[in-house]
């Protein structure tokens, strides 16, 4: 059974005409880490809010393990654990208290809840911190409390919005180790949104979002395989002239992005000296590389992944 089945999902905010999600259909198989990759403004967060049952979509449906989230929200919610981009733990409460309140909201109590809390603090390495106020913990530790909280009722689906927001690089790495371990040990399906290419690379499956539409989906490897060849990035003082002369000679479909020309070619490394020979006065520099998820985005949308105003260093 699919963990999530989204069909024809559309959403626009009240009193606006713009559609944030323009008909998304997608299935997420069980026991995977599935990522929604997209630049800022691509509709990721709206999608997350609909999946977490916070919003009801304008049209279309979402099923979580066969349960329709808008018709049976309470049944669906029992199956879903949610980790928000902004912390949802109460900083004035201890780790244990946070988990206890959250367990209560899911109808857990007594011995069942106690042993589940014990299990969670151990699994997420919070044993020594359990009696501390969460306000005193580090960013990475807080995120682990969030995870412990999201997993308290043993959901079959864990959804996370930009899980590594505000984490330093080492905390990000350990978060991913935890996620992979979690997937293996508990069999939970993890669905996350991200605007980080490096993070998307680690997912088992991906869907790339652009302006409310899915422009590509599959495993990162498969997606990159679609491009087939290598990617050359040429910087030229006159990109348009380079593009037209390149097309005359080699055909293909070079695109201009951020003042540079991006060329896809089967044997890119052989093309490098040829290009320098052919257009000596037009080529300032050439970079050679294997295709990345960024290239797929550029290829499908004709624009740079970062042109939406997102900060590349983030």
């Amino acid at each position: 059974m699919d963990a999530v089945r989204i069909s024809g999902l559309r959403h626009s905010y009240p009193k606006t005409d713009t559609e944030v999600l323009k008909g998304i259909s997608l299935s997420v198989p069980e026991r995977l880490i599935f990522g929604f990759l997209g630049p800022n403004g691509s509709g990721k967060t709206t999608l997350f809010k609909i999946l977490s049952t916070l919003f009801v979509s304008t049209s279309g449906s979402v099923e979580v393990f066969g349960i329709n989230t808008s018709r049976n929200p309470y049944e669906a919610r029992k199956l879903i654990g949610t980790v928000f981009q902004f912390p949802s733990i109460d900083l004035k409460l201890t780790v244990d208290e946070n988990l206890r309140h959250h367990g209560h909201l899911y109808g857990m109590r007594g011995e069942e809840l106690n042993s589940r809390i014990d299990e969670q603090v151990e699994r997420f390495g919070l044993l020594e911190k359990r009696a501390e106020f969460t306000g005193k913990l580090s960013g990475g530790q807080r995120r682990r409390v969030e995870l412990a909280k999201g997993m308290i009722h043993s959901p079959k689906l864990l959804i996370m919005d930009e899980p590594s927001t505000g984490l330093d690089p080492s905390a990000r790495l350990s978060l991913w180790e935890t996620l992979c371990e979690l997937k293996e040990s508990s069999g939970v399906t993890i669905l996350l949104t991200t605007h980080l290419i490096t993070e998307a690379e680690k997912c088992d499956r991906l869907a790339i979002l652009n302006k409310g539409e899915i422009i590509a989906s599959g495993s990162p490897k498969k997606l990159k395989g679609e491009i087939g060849g290598d990617i050359l990035t040429v910087s030229s003082h006159s990109p348009l002239e380079f593009i037209s002369r390149y097309k005359e000679k080699y055909g293909g479909n070079p695109v201009q992005l951020n003042g540079k020309v991006r060329v896809e070619h089967e044997n890119g490394y052989r093309l490098v000296p040829e290009l320098v020979d052919a257009f000596p006065d037009l080529v300032d520099s050439i970079t050679y590389g294997k295709p990345t998820l960024e290239d797929i985005f550029a290829l499908r949308t004709g624009r740079s992944f970062w042109s939406g105003g997102a900060d590349k260093n983030e």
Partner: protein
């Protein structure tokens, strides 16, 4: 979008009643723990009203006359007004946390938990109501030692009045906090209403011979009835002719309870697709 009746009956039926009550209890408990840990709130809710009572009370004592008679102690007259003030501030402002909780914080995870929205309303409103009682208790003790003569049956009636008015005020606080998205805005709006509401409640002095428009504002003000009811319980109002009867007080306060609580349920149940 799910509407109020839907949540009260249909969909909420999917969740066991005991789990709904557990949800309410856990949200209520959180309010208590947070309050207890925030010592500044404990002090800030009690000390200013006491200072108010002592300062304004002693200042007005000399010139205070009810009707043609005399002999009424102003400190006694002012006492119900100050209890109302404590209830007003505690129950309204303890709802302010909703704003931060909703945008980023604890409330996000409550909203996706398998509990109906009314659980949030009840947990929060009862939490605020309880806090108001906790805040007012020391003041009642001070009042007792300052010479206000509480009898057991008086206390019972006071609890009913205070509980109802706290319920009204918490619900109003809940509605405003739920709709707004900045705590500065909440402060601004609430201050705009709260102080005038209190001043026009008869807390400071009997409201007699008012211009018509002001009289109407007094009449629709729920605090008027809370203050009047408390005054009737605590002392014999005798010559204050404008005071509503006990029966009127109860009817108005209970109607406000129902309206405000339903209002809170309504806003909480609106879809939050914004």
């Amino acid at each position: 979008m799910r509407s109020v009746p839907d949540v009260l009956s249909g969909a909420a039926g999917q969740i066991k009643m005991s789990n709904q009550l557990l949800g309410i209890a856990t949200l209520w408990q959180r309010e208590m723990v947070r309050f207890y840990r925030d010592k500044s709130r404990v002090i800030g809710g009690l000390v200013p009203p006491v200072i108010f009572w002592v300062f304004i009370g002693s200042g007005f004592s000399g010139s205070f006359r009810v009707g043609t008679g005399d002999g009424m102690n102003y400190m006694v007259y002012f006492f119900p007004g100050i209890i109302t003030l404590i209830f007003l501030f505690t129950s309204v402002f303890s709802n302010m946390s909703i704003i931060e909780d909703k945008v980023q914080g604890f409330m996000q995870s409550v909203l996706v938990a398998p509990v109906p929205r009314y659980v949030i309303v009840v947990g929060k409103v009862f939490g605020s109501t309880t806090l108001a009682f906790i805040q007012a208790l020391p003041f009642l003790v001070i009042g007792y030692f300052a010479g206000i003569n509480f009898r057991a049956e008086m206390l019972f009636e006071m609890v009913i009045i205070l509980f109802s008015i706290a319920f009204v005020l918490s619900s109003i606080g809940f509605i405003v906090a739920w709709v707004l998205d900045s705590s500065q805005g909440f402060h601004a709006i609430m201050n705009m209403f709260l102080m005038p509401m209190w001043l026009l409640s008869g807390a400071l002095f009997p409201l007699e011979n008012l211009p018509v428009w002001l009289e109407w504002m007094v009449k629709v003000n729920p605090l008027t009835y809370a203050v009047a009811a408390l005054q009737r319980v605590i002392f014999d109002p005798g010559l204050i002719t404008t005071l509503p009867t006990m029966r009127q007080c109860y009817i108005v306060i209970f109607v406000y309870c129902a309206v405000c609580f339903l209002g809170a349920l309504f806003v909480a149940n609106r879809g939050n697709n914004r």
